[in-house]
């Protein structure tokens, strides 16, 4: 699985959204610092999980990595190609090599398009097959790959259930033979019994095609199940990153610890036994993140200096990175 060069390298990625005020003439009053400097790499064939709660910036990060939002700062390198200042041709090639699966199965498919049109769009845009017959064959092949009958090719999205629509979204993502797929909460909107179907499908496809995934989610149990490594985000920054078992069994950052202890376990005895870290307060706004360590207002072990010192990102043990003032190398 680990090749020489990682497939994806992200360095210092930032995405700010301007906040404007004023009625007649809008001026910039500040910025929503949705992603405020994240760095990581993903090896070929790997699944990196990106977890965090609402407002942490994980969805923005996923979209910025795919250049759906223009980065405010930072570097993205995919398959050896640096995306900053990429020209139109390179960008188009980049789009072919990448894909995205979305959270909402009801909003991510054009309600006026047939399944055929939806799944074949990447094929048409990148001119991968020129003959109509070849395109239809490819679409049928993709539908079968995701477990849908070819008979459904001319149906419309509203005729399908949520799980089936998500499969159509997966088929579309595969259409251009991508290397890298960003899965943005692909199962959150589905029933529990359907979630397992879709996750198993994603894994099978990864085995078959050697795909690399960025799996963005808030369901920590599912992330542990499917991801090789996991990064935890809080208010626009990554606070911890590690191999999955290492991170889940030995969380270093107090936020990670609180997060993991808050996840419900479907096992009453285990649930009663474990120690819960309950955080106080709400997640602060990304417009004005707290000074120093962003987590300090809610941190159970925060000290005075945490209000001023920005924690350093360092490798606590091989492959296990963390940014916390109270933990030093």
């Amino acid at each position: 699985m680990n090749d020489a060069q990682p497939l994806i390298v992200v360095e210092g990625l930032k995405k700010y959204f301007p906040v404007t005020s004023g009625v007649v003439f809008q001026r910039k009053a500040g910025s929503v610092r949705a992603v405020d400097g994240i760095s990581f790499s993903i090896a070929r064939g790997e699944t990196l999980g990106l977890v965090g709660e609402s407002g942490c910036g994980k969805t923005t990060a996923g979209r910025t990595i795919l250049n759906l939002y223009t980065p405010t700062a930072g570097k993205i390198v995919i398959d050896g190609q640096d995306l900053t200042n990429a020209n139109k041709v390179d960008l188009k090639e980049f789009r072919r090599k990448t894909a995205m699966i979305f959270q909402d199965p009801y909003a991510s498919l054009n309600p006026r398009w047939t399944v055929n049109a939806i799944v074949s769009e990447p094929i048409r845009v990148h001119k991968l097959f020129t003959k109509e017959k070849e395109r239809i064959d490819k679409v049928n092949e993709l539908l079968n790959l995701v477990g849908l009958s070819s008979r459904l090719i001319n149906r419309f999205p509203h005729e399908f259930s949520g799980g089936q629509r998500q499969r159509i979204g997966v088929a579309r993502a595969l259409a251009s033979d991508p290397l890298f797929i960003v899965c943005d909460e692909p199962i959150s909107a589905l029933d529990v019994s359907i979630q397992a179907q879709v996750v198993n499908l994603l894994e099978d496809l990864q085995d078959k095609f050697g795909l690399t995934y960025l799996f963005i989610a808030h369901d920590l149990s599912m992330v542990r199940h499917i991801c090789d490594r996991v990064a935890v985000m809080y208010l626009g920054v990554i606070v911890e990153l590690g191999e999955r078992n290492e991170l889940y069994e030995n969380p270093l950052h107090p936020y990670t610890q609180a997060l993991l202890s808050a996840v419900p376990i479907p096992d009453p005895k285990r649930d009663r036994e474990r120690r819960r870290v309950i955080l106080s307060g709400d997640v602060p706004s990304p417009i004005n993140p707290p000074s120093g360590c962003r987590f300090h207002p809610r941190c159970p072990i925060g000290k005075e200096h945490c209000k001023m010192d920005i924690p350093e990102w360092f490798e606590a043990s091989p492959g296990h990175w963390v940014a916390c003032n109270e933990i030093k190398g």
Binding site: F102, D104, L109, P111, S149, L201
Partner: protein, 318 residues
């Protein structure tokens, strides 16, 4: 199931009855909802009858006949030879309403075509691109909106009258004034649609399927015309439908003021103008064209209402 075997064996297969299959496409659903709207059906039927009246009617009575004047026959009340009576120069009113209908309906349709194209282009660009494009386009739109339509119509009618040559289309001669009217109405009515389309685009472009199209690499034009536009057809269709009624009325106003299509070419509007001096003495001169305008506008409005309800995706009825 007889389909191509999947190379990956662990994916659960969906059996035939697990695939939800309502028998109705979006078009059929829309038709069903439309059918329940009695007034809309009534409007559609009346409209079809009016169109037939105007166009089939011309097979029975020639245009020459409609324009044939005989002062001996002037101002005759409705009779068996002239079912709608005759006008101030002896022309048959029935025939004139037939040919007048053709022009009025034609004006309605072409004006609406112009305003729809203009409105959609402006609204789409403003809504999709935003930023300064939006700002500029919207200021222009608002500026034109603020000019009273009638005023603009009158000014432009006076300015361009007589300057556009006659054109021949489908065997009929249309005086240049028809073209002028069509263009003027079209250019003064596009703003409403532009704002509606802009609003639709603003909200639709936030949808995930648009983001998906961008992630695929679809061009902006592709997104505008193949993704967003098909999803905003409902308000466009409704506005266009009602726009036909507006255009017909607008033509009636201008012609009534004597600035529209000039006789001998008949339109319902200029027939009303011709009836001005004979309101009490020869009511058939204004009654028939007036009735026809009324019926046309009403039926279009009912039709538009029905379409609006049928195309509304939030409507609970099937």
């Amino acid at each position: 199931m007889g389909d191509a075997v999947s190379a990956t064996t662990n994916i659960p297969r969906l059996s035939q009855d697990e695939i939800e299959s309502p028998p109705l496409s979006l078009g059929q659903l829309t038709w069903r909802r439309f059918r329940r709207h009695k007034m809309a059906i009534f409007g559609a039927v009346v409209l079809i009858l009016l169109v037939l009246y105007s166009f089939i009617g011309s097979f029975f009575l020639s245009e020459k006949y409609a324009n044939y004047t005989d002062t001996n026959l002037r101002l005759q009340a409705p009779s068996s030879t002239h079912p709608f009576g005759t006008d101030s120069v002896g022309r048959d009113v029935l025939a004139r309403t037939i040919y007048g209908g053709q022009i009025s309906l034609l004006i309605g349709l072409t004006a609406v075509t112009i305003e729809t194209i203009a409105g959609v282009l402006v609204g789409a660009a403003a809504g999709y691109y935003g930023g300064w494009i939006d700002a500029v386009l919207m200021r222009i739109t608002e500026a034109v909106l603020n000019i009273p339509e009638l005023f603009l119509l009158i000014v432009m009618a006076k300015e361009f009258a007589g300057k556009i040559p006659t054109i021949t289309l489908l065997g009929r001669e249309f005086s240049g004034s028809v073209v002028v009217i069509v263009v003027i109405i079209g250019l003064t009515s596009w703003m409403y649609l532009a704002r509606i389309v802009r609003a639709e685009f603003l909200s639709l472009k936030e949808n995930d399927f648009i983001l998906a199209a961008r992630a695929t690499g679809t061009s902006n034009n592709g997104i505008i015309f193949r993704h967003i536009l098909p999803n905003s057809m409902a308000p466009i269709i409704v506005t266009a439908t009602l726009g036909v009624a507006n255009a017909i009325l607008a033509e009636a106003y201008i012609s009534f003021l004597g600035l529209g299509v000039q006789p001998p070419t008949a339109t319902w509007g200029n027939m009303l103008d011709g009836a001005n001096s004979y309101l009490e003495s020869a009511p058939w001169l204004w009654f028939f064209p007036g009735m026809l305008i009324l019926l046309t506008v009403l039926s279009i409005n009912f039709l538009g209402d029905g379409l609006r309800d049928a195309l509304d995706p939030h409507s609970r009825a099937v």
